[in-house]
Symmetry: C2
């Protein structure tokens, strides 16, 4: 039943076309290209860019090869012609739109599942996407901002969208890699610290037992690494030597 749908395939960063529609500010074109380079996306298309801006942007730091390979298109239709999914970005609220509107967290998942080339459209700094531009889109996507400050800088909006597309959900739960100090090390540190505190008169004989428990809990809460434990032990050893010598 091949006719019933395209074969699913994994999302590749080369499948995404970042389309800037009528951008005016060279800094923003450069910033969009730089964010693409940061997150490993390669295909930039510009629809009807302001010529001067485009030329100036080509000198943007760190993104020169990407800008040199950018494609210029006369219309939105040309820029999305090879795409199976076309998504527009907007900062406008749902009520004013004729399209389904999805939050970036959800939309990015759908783009990754597009099964082929997908276009992500960004409008001009001043006006965003026009209704005509949006009519080429399957749906719209917004970055969840606070209501009173919905309009984002173009370069920042591109960076945030590409970050979400490149985001690795599994990394959120990844544990820290530094090995924790062993219980034996923690206990030796506790013992030496208690001795130093006793000798220096901080711990009084009457409350020594409860004080020792307090110190033990304190040392456990420090979450010392295996690498730091011998350093702390060396410090305490030296302090104890000094106390004993006086």
């Amino acid at each position: 039943m091949h006719e019933d749908g395209p074969t699913a395939k994994n999302f590749s960063k080369d499948d995404l076309r970042v389309v800037l529609v009528a951008p005016r500010n060279p800094l923003n074109i450069g910033a969009a290209a730089r964010a693409m380079a940061n997150f490993g996306f390669t295909r930039l298309r510009l629809v009807n860019p302001y010529e001067v801006a485009y030329r100036e942007a080509r000198s943007a730091m760190g993104a020169a090869p990407l800008l040199a390979a950018a494609e210029e298109c006369a219309t939105v239709a040309d820029a999305v012609a090879d795409c199976v999914l076309v998504v527009g970005t907007t900062s406008v609220g749902h009520r004013e739109l004729e399209h389904p509107l999805r939050r970036l967290e959800h939309g990015a998942r759908l783009i990754r599942k597009a099964g082929g080339p997908a276009a992500l459209l960004f409008g001009s700094e001043k006006f965003g996407l026009s209704n005509e531009d949006m009519s080429h889109c399957h749906w719209l996507m917004r970055i969840a901002t606070v209501d009173v400050n919905r309009s984002m800088n173009l370069g920042q909006a591109v960076a945030v969208c590409l970050y979400e597309l490149a985001r690795d959900a599994r990394a959120a739960a990844r544990p820290a890699k530094s090995k924790a100090a062993s219980a034996a090390d923690a206990e030796q540190i506790t013992a030496m610290l208690v001795e130093a505190l006793e000798r220096s008169g901080y711990i009084k004989p009457l409350t020594a037992l409860s004080s020792k428990a307090k110190v033990r809990r304190l040392v456990r809460r420090l979450n010392l690494t295996a690498r730091d434990a011998p350093v702390v032990l060396g410090m305490l050893r030296q302090i104890l030597w000094k106390i004993s010598a006086t």
Copy 2:
């Protein structure tokens, strides 16, 4: 056992201090403030900013109140003094660092669980955070970029970090809100389309049965919304009327 740890409390955006250390470019200070305004963060601190840049940034669009309320600090120690967690950002790889390094996806979760005010430090555009700056940090955080283009624009890095801190994981799975067309509507559209195709000679009597099944599948794949179904029905009705009239 109150001494064993602070009472856990929910993360509030007012708990985060965004700390720019020695920023030089007014556009970047303005961009950082604008991203904060977009994502609802309010507390900006600048350590030793380049004076001219700071003054120019105060005119940044959409972020004026935030910049006016920004606090200037002489040292990193001052800027983080009221924080229970201090996190530095870096684009440098793990091998060169003395600190634990976490990916943003993971680090943001830990910041939300800090249980009190947390500082997020960004270094200068040119040099990043110094070793001295980093020594004030509990750990470091990086945005996962491609290895050959690790250095991000400061304003974009701030935007991406704040987006992740404000991100709603539940929104990723949120279904689209537009109601789908009923099976009855889809079937009526199928019937009218088949009739139009038969009358116009597209469907041949010999293959009519399999053609009808093909059309039915095609219509189901369109995922029509409840709102669009009557529009499509109206179009087909008109086309059928025209075909019958000729």
